[in-house]
Symmetry: none
Subunit: 407 residues, 2 copies
């Protein structure tokens, strides 16, 4: 039997409030250089410690053993979607990261300006790493001149440096397409093709990309050094079952960075805009408590400082989160889960596959009687080392949202 | 999405050196009779203890909960192959155990001499358990007289006591076949048949077996008590994806016993011959360090003494392994995993399903801060209780061999 179907069948509507607190990239490593402490272990976290007393703990495998996830798969798993089943293309993630509101079927591409010689050979894949301002003005030019290709609307948005995003919105499109990128210099820009040669929709998308090149390259011909562009990760926004339909929970997202708002929007969460600090985010939860059943609150800085390899800053980010936590707890949700979407260990300065710690608190979570919420303590928790996609089901169970299975 | 395909897609070639140290049958049980200590717990293991400080630990399910594996599935899982997907027939395992070098498509059978009455009825399935020398001389006789059956070469090799192996090497063969063994006395030897009646290759193999009986039985007719023989587990060597193609790691095997060399050869490992003691095996790793990326080092004695139920000897075997370990560590690999292929608990005098402990060490394994490497400590490790087939993926991840999944 399909497990998701079983969960759906057993799901009951309740009045519970559920909160998923994501400290991005929370997990870390106890290494010799870090005196065998992780930032979570080194941080002073009196509020997390107190919550811990009545919580279960465990660790979560974001995707599969040894697989390091990007933010997309990491969050889809937290939202309870199998990240191997629901894959979101690179172009879509990039578009979400720039705050573009995508619709199902939109085809998005990561693009960047490059330099071409007279024969159309790529001589610099990054156009000398032009400044963001230059990129913005070039994107503005393209946007002004190219509104449509065929029957599809074209949306262009500048990113940082030489990077931008192109989005095609029209009937009957899908990805993925091969890259319009030779992946090395000294070659021309290859024509894109449908990865699945049998997909008429992907073939149509490939034609649109070719049409876009036809219109855009002449507009850039006189520019220097950015007289061309490459496109990669061309994919459509997949149809993902709506969070509310799947869990019978009306969801809200309280995030600061566009990428996470975008990922939440992919599954149909309502964005609560405004708050910038974690204290403001927690207050926004309190303010909107009665309007939603489920709140996804995203905290970026643990990941950011992990990427920098800045142990002290990551530790401090955790302490700030902890300090603000009572704001949320004064309107205590029925179920709270605190975790990361993956680990971003300071010694690695990047995402990793190491299972992130998770703490689950409710009236009926039970207590694992662990003194603190840390990676090492979480190893001994009753949730074990589980796949992240099951966290939502644990949260629902703790909200008494599942009927008994069998008699 | 197929997980193996995903791993392949994400695999990067690096210069890392990976070492898999297998103490066969390592896992054991803390029972009252053993004063609640396992051999690992009772052993003095200063070198393992030191390594432990910077390692992750966990326990591994060899095949599936409650399933006790033979050496074949146990090792295939350690090599990262799903032992349920890649099954190696008993005849093949037996042939590997006798040091026969198999080729893909070879059909091998476990055979043993038996006693037949005048009507061809099996009166003793083990021919009075004849001595190994008698078995060897009978096999020599058969080998000398029977070189071929049809277009297939026949290879016969004596084992211990009444046991031997028959191998058919020729074009277009496959198994499995039904047994040429009534499995009880008082019945004739049944004719073998293809298990899959639609397989022309298996039907051909069945004909070869019948042809082999036709040639061999007359040669034994005057012998006593071994005037007949039974054949079981008749199977072909399956096509298994090569280890090097699968992991982008050039693998070497440093084993003493033929069975493990054979299992390593099944997946295309190069055998480093010569070393007999574990110290010599570790030295062989050092000597060949630059020639390979991956080393599988097999240590038999933990299993052997477990099978004997000899706690003291198993403990000593672990201590000897520990004493030799610094030889390997002086040329420190980037990734080391130390584990067993299954448990062979002394109280059970045989293989078991109990998850074997595993320790994983690299610059980025993190430390689970466990004081020792034992079954009980491993229960608290960050690897959790996982399927053994994922160990290879963890080792690759620790060697930074996987690209990020998704953006």
């Amino acid at each position: 039997m399909n497990l998701d179907a079983l969960y759906s069948e057993l799901t009951l509507k309740t009045k519970s409030k559920l909160v998923l607190l994501v400290m991005d990239g929370l997990g870390d490593l106890a290494t010799r250089q870090q005196k065998y402490l992780t930032p979570l272990e080194a941080a002073k976290t009196p509020n997390l410690d107190a919550l811990c007393k009545d919580s279960a703990q465990g660790r979560m495998i974001p995707v599969a053993p040894g697989i390091t996830p990007g933010s997309g798969p990491g969050h889809l798993a937290l939202f309870g979607y199998d990240p191997l089943e629901f894959q979101v293309g690179r172009g879509v993630i990039e578009a979400l990261g720039l705050g573009i509101e995508l619709k199902a079927g939109d085809v998005a591409a990561r693009a960047n300006f490059c330099t071409l010689d007279a024969k159309g050979i790529v001589t610099d894949r990054r156009a000398g790493r032009i400044e963001t301002e230059v990129c913005e003005s070039l994107c503005e030019l393209l946007s002004k001149k190219i509104k449509k290709v065929g029957d599809a609307q074209v949306i262009i948005k500048a990113g940082k440096g030489h990077r931008f995003v192109v989005l095609f919105r029209g009937p009957g499109l899908e990805g993925p397409l091969t890259d319009a990128d030779p992946h090395s210099e000294g070659k021309p820009i290859p024509k894109v093709q449908a990865v699945n040669a049998k997909s008429a929709k992907a073939k149509k998308a490939a034609k649109l990309v070719a049409g876009f090149y036809e219109q855009a390259l002449p507009l850039l011909a006189k520019k220097s050094p950015a007289n061309g562009f490459l496109m990669r990760g061309i994919a459509h926004q997949p149809e993902i079952p709506l969070f509310e339909d799947r869990y019978l929970l009306k969801p809200a997202c309280i995030a600061v960075y566009p990428m996470y708002k975008g990922l939440a929007q992919l599954v149909g969460m309502t964005k609560i805009e405004g708050p910038q600090t974690i204290a403001e985010q927690f207050q926004a939860y309190v303010d909107h408590h009665d309007e939603f059943d489920f709140f996804f609150i995203h905290y970026k800085y643990t990941d950011m400082y992990g990427e920098d390899g800045n142990f002290e800053a990551k530790k401090k980010a955790i302490e700030e989160f902890d300090t603000a936590l009572p704001i949320l707890l004064k309107k205590r949700p029925d179920v709270v889960a605190i975790t990361g979407d993956h680990s971003t260990p300071c010694p690695m300065k990047g995402h990793s596959w190491h299972p992130q710690p998770v703490m689950l608190n409710s009236e009926i979570s039970g207590s694992d009687k662990l003194p603190r919420f840390t990676e090492t303590e979480a190893n001994r928790g009753s949730l074990g080392v589980m796949e992240a996609k099951y966290l939502m089901r644990h949260m629902q169970a703790n909200a008494k949202m599942f009927d008994k299975f069998g008699a």
